[in-house]
Amino acid sequence: MNVRIEEIDGNMVAFLEGNLDTAAAPETEKAMNPLNDVEGKDIIIDCTALDYISSAGLRIFLGILQDAEEKEGHVYIRGINDKVRAIFAITGFSNIFEFI
């Protein structure tokens, strides 16, 4: 599981790659910590290379979203594949995230 965070066009973009299973979750959460402190910028999570996500992964996404919403920021999810989108759908996460 690889996580890369870049600032592109004034937005924080997180590139996720691999399987975000329960075992990978703590490490990923740590890697994505900087996103919690972002202020005044929108966050884009690029899931183009994300193959799998468990509920532990989803919790990280939810944490980022809840923090951003407190600061009136937006979290966008980009390039999500159908399998992962299905997991978002059954958990109702597709209702709370914005997809681009």
């Binding site: 703590p26 944490g63 059954i90 958990t91």
Partner: protein
């Protein structure tokens, strides 16, 4: 006639009057009958005595006439015999005779031929009335040689004076004839030699008139006959001297008349009752002195009884008219008296037609009709009041019934209506029926499926009707609510009991059986709270053993016990309420458990233990037993047949992992391998992997106390139909299936971090099933293998 009878039957007044008049008529008829019968006898006796008197009088009168003739004859005879030689004196004597006796027809003093030499051969001084004047002539001549006549010869031959038979006296000078009878006696000189005969005649016509003038009755008449029976006097003058009393009997034999003739000839006196000329007559007869004649008075009976009959007819007519008047007035009086009754009847009819406010007539009478009217008025008032009450009650009843119907619909709506059959499921089929004794009942049953488990219950609330139905509704809701969070029947029951008992102020209770059938394994967990033990109909028929728990609802702290049994494929669990065993026939005898067992055994023998068949047979048996008797209690039955066929296992793999998160990739690799072996596509494989990971991570995180090492065993098995993962650990008992559902519609802020795992498992797998087996938690996830 029929109309008349109908009229009489309808009219009380006519009927009563007819009866009264009928009896009056009988009394009159009997009284008058006796009276008239007696009176008739008296009248008859009176008639006899009267006729006899008249006859005596008449005969005396006639005898008087005859005596006068004889006396006058004797006197003249004496004169003639004193002076026999003076021929001219004879004319004087003869004339004097008639002068003194104007009733005599003629008188002749006739002498022997040549008695008076100077007078020639014939000398007869003959005097007769011509009109009112007397004419005296010498009567003898060649053409009338009197001394050959009967009247001249008879006294000589008999040597005594005698009356001749009637004969025709012909008067040559006037050429008139008259029927006469004569009294003749001889004239003799001093020497006793016959010198002549003195003859005095009486006209038969006059005699007849004299006699006939005596009439005791208007139509009565007299007859007189001579010695030979010849009629001398008869109303039919043609018969006089020409017929005898016997003439008629020659043509028409008439013994009565003949007897009368003989009796009269013999000079008898008496009375005979006979028929003359077609008429009933009394005949009174008596001889007339020495003349040899006999007279009779014929009195027609109709005459004798004429006045009597008139009286009888008058009285009869008066009685008849009186009776008719009586009938008329009776009818009128009774009709008038009954008039109020008729009005009352009319008003009653009006009231009967539904017009209860009809004003009843006020008769102001104190007799029975007045009383009736009064009572009727009271009845009307009561009726009006009663009808009003009845209308109110009916309206209320209709309202209650309507409510009850709605309540019944609601109650029935609570019960499951769709029963799974073998066409719907391959593991279980089920059927149930509930028949309330009243519109709403206190029985309940329920079932539903959750996580490859069948949750079911059957119960019977104490009492019947609306209260029981409300309690039933509460019980059923509580069952649903509680069983969502609890999978073990004892825990469900205990929680339900506490919930219900806490809010139960009415001391009602419910006997309840709660069962949870694990469909993949056929393992049945159950808890019985005082309910009838269900039957198992499979290899044989037997009761499911049940602990003695108290019913639900009154002891909140009671701990209910759990029981367990294995249900073999094909076995039917038959649950029922006491409405089945206690169903009563008309004689109040009960259906009894023996009959339930019999029906179940019969069904089993006929391979008809499928839920619908079993319940249908049980229902039919109960109906036959109960017959027409009213259903005494709610009747509920539920049959659950386990039909799961265990398929052959085609693949079996397992892996044992420690409770460390780092092992998840190994788990995922294991699951990927399994999915690939079984043939799931990538999307399905990822869903399964995710579900298994969530389940296993759950165990790794929570099954064992922090820092305590433990193992998680994951077994994968598949057959033709399904892939099954069984996740086993020896940690604390934990049932993830009773965790509350996450709400996926909440906003990001409101969403909780936890609870997602079980949700994902449910969404991604076909079933999730938790069992605590010994000291192990056993969680089974299943996914159907797609066939292409």
């Amino acid at each position: 006639m029929k109309k008349m009878i109908e009229f009489i039957r309808r009219k009380l007044s006519v009927r009563v009057s007819l009866w009264v008049v009928f009896f009056a008529a009988i009394i009159f008829i009997v009284t008058l009958g006796i009276l008239f019968y007696q009176a008739r006898d008296i009248v008859r006796q009176e008639a006899v005595s009267r006729a006899t008197q008249i006859l005596d009088k008449t005969s005396l009168h006639v005898e008087g006439i005859l005596n006068r003739v004889e006396v006058a004859s004797n006197m003249t005879k004496w004169l003639v015999e004193r002076h026999p030689n003076k021929a001219d004196s004879m004319f004087v004597y003869s004339r004097g005779m008639l002068q003194n006796n104007p009733n005599f027809y003629n008188c002749s003093i006739a002498f022997e031929p040549y008695y008076f030499q100077d007078k020639g051969r014939y000398f007869s001084a003959y005097t007769r009335f011509i009109g009112d004047s007397l004419r005296t002539i010498q009567g003898g001549s060649d053409s009338y040689q009197y001394f050959f006549e009967d009247w001249y010869l008879m006294p000589q031959l008999l040597e005594k004076p005698c009356w001749t038979e009637p004969y025709m006296d012909h008067d040559v000078s006037t050429n008139t004839s008259e029927m006469v009878t004569s009294y003749c006696q001889t004239l003799r000189n001093m020497r006793g030699e016959l010198i002549g005969v003195i003859n005095i005649s009486l006209s038969l016509n006059w005699l007849s008139q004299t006699i006939s003038a005596i009439k005791p009755y208007p139509n009565s008449y007299s007859i007189m006959i001579g010695r030979g029976g010849t009629y001398f006097v008869h109303p039919d003058t043609t018969k006089i001297t020409r017929q005898t009393i016997f003439t008629q009997t020659l043509e028409q034999p008439d013994t009565a008349l003949t007897a009368l003739g003989y009796a009269m000839q013999r000079g008898e006196e008496g009375m005979k009752h006979m028929n003359i000329g077609g008429e009933d007559c009394y005949v009174f007869y008596k001889p007339l002195g020495q003349t040899g004649c006999s007279m009779a008075i014929v009195c027609p009976k109709s005459d004798v009884f004429a006045s009597f009959n008139r009286l009888q007819n008058s009285v009869g007519a008066i009685v008849l008219v009186g009776l008719l008047l009586m009938l008329h007035f009776f009818i009128r009086i009774i009709t008038r008296e009954l008039n109020p009754l008729r009005r009352l009847a009319h008003e009653a009819e009006t009231i009967a037609s539904g017009q209860f406010d009809t004003q009843l007539p006020d008769f102001q009478r104190v007799d029975e009709i007045g009383q009736l009217s009064h009572s009727f008025g009271n009845m009307q008032q009561s009726l009006v009041k009663y009808i009003e009450e009845l209308q109110d009650a009916t309206a209320q009843k209709a309202s209650i019934e309507s409510d009850l119907r709605i309540a019944s619909n609601i109650q029935m709506g609570m019960l499951p209506v769709k029963f799974p059959t073998s066409a719907d499921r391959d593991d279980v089929q089920l059927f149930a029926s509930l028949t309330p004794a009243k519109q709403v009942g206190g029985d309940l049953f329920d079932f539903y499926f959750r996580d490859e488990k069948l949750f079911f219950c059957i119960g019977d609330v104490s009492g019947k009707g609306v209260p029981a139905s409300l309690f039933m509704a509460v019980t059923r809701s509580t069952f649903r609510t509680v069983s969502v969070h609890e999978s073990m029947p004892d825990r469900i029951m205990t929680t339900m009991n506490k919930t219900i008992a806490d809010m139960n102020k009415t001391h009602m209770f419910v006997t309840l059986f709660v069962g949870v059938l694990d469909l993949p394994t056929g393992r049945l967990h159950y808890c019985n709270a005082g309910h009838d033990a269900p039957l198992l109909v499979g290899a044989g028929v037997g009761e499911l053993p049940c602990d003695a728990n108290i019913p639900v609802g009154f002891r909140p702290k009671w701990k209910f016990s759990l029981q367990e049994a294995h249900i073999f494929t094909g076995t039917t669990i038959f649950l029922f309420t006491d409405g089945l065993t206690e169903a009563m026939d008309a004689n109040k005898s009960q259906f009894q458990m023996e009959r339930v067992n019999d029906v179940a055994n019969r069904a089993l023998a006929n391979h008809q233990q499928e839920p619908r068949q079993l319940i249908a047979q049980m229902t039919e048996a109960v109906h036959q037993f109960v017959g027409n008797a009213e259903q005494s209690d709610d009747l509920t039955m539920m049959a659950i047949q386990y039909i799961k066929q265990q398929s052959d296992v085609q693949m079996r793999k397992s892996i044992v992992l420690p409770n460390e998160i780092q092992e998840v990739p190994r788990l995922n690799a294991f699951v990927d391998g399994v999915c690939e072996t079984v043939g799931f596509n990538e999307d399905d494989a990822m869903q399964i992997k995710l579900a298994v990971e969530e389940a296993v991570v759950n165990v790794m995180k929570y099954a064992y106390a922090p820092g305590l090492r433990g193992d998680v065993t994951i077994e994968a098995a598949s057959n033709d139909v399904r892939l099954k993962f069984t996740i086993i650990d020896s940690g604390v008992p934990f049932d993830p299936t009773v965790q509350s559902e996450v709400d996926t519609t909440l906003s990001a802020k409101e969403r909780k971090i936890g609870g997602l795992g079980i949700h994902i498992i449910r969404q991604n797998m076909d079933s999730i099933n938790y069992e605590r087996s010994g000291n192990l938690n056993v969680l089974t996830l299943r996914k159907k293998i797609p066939h292409n």
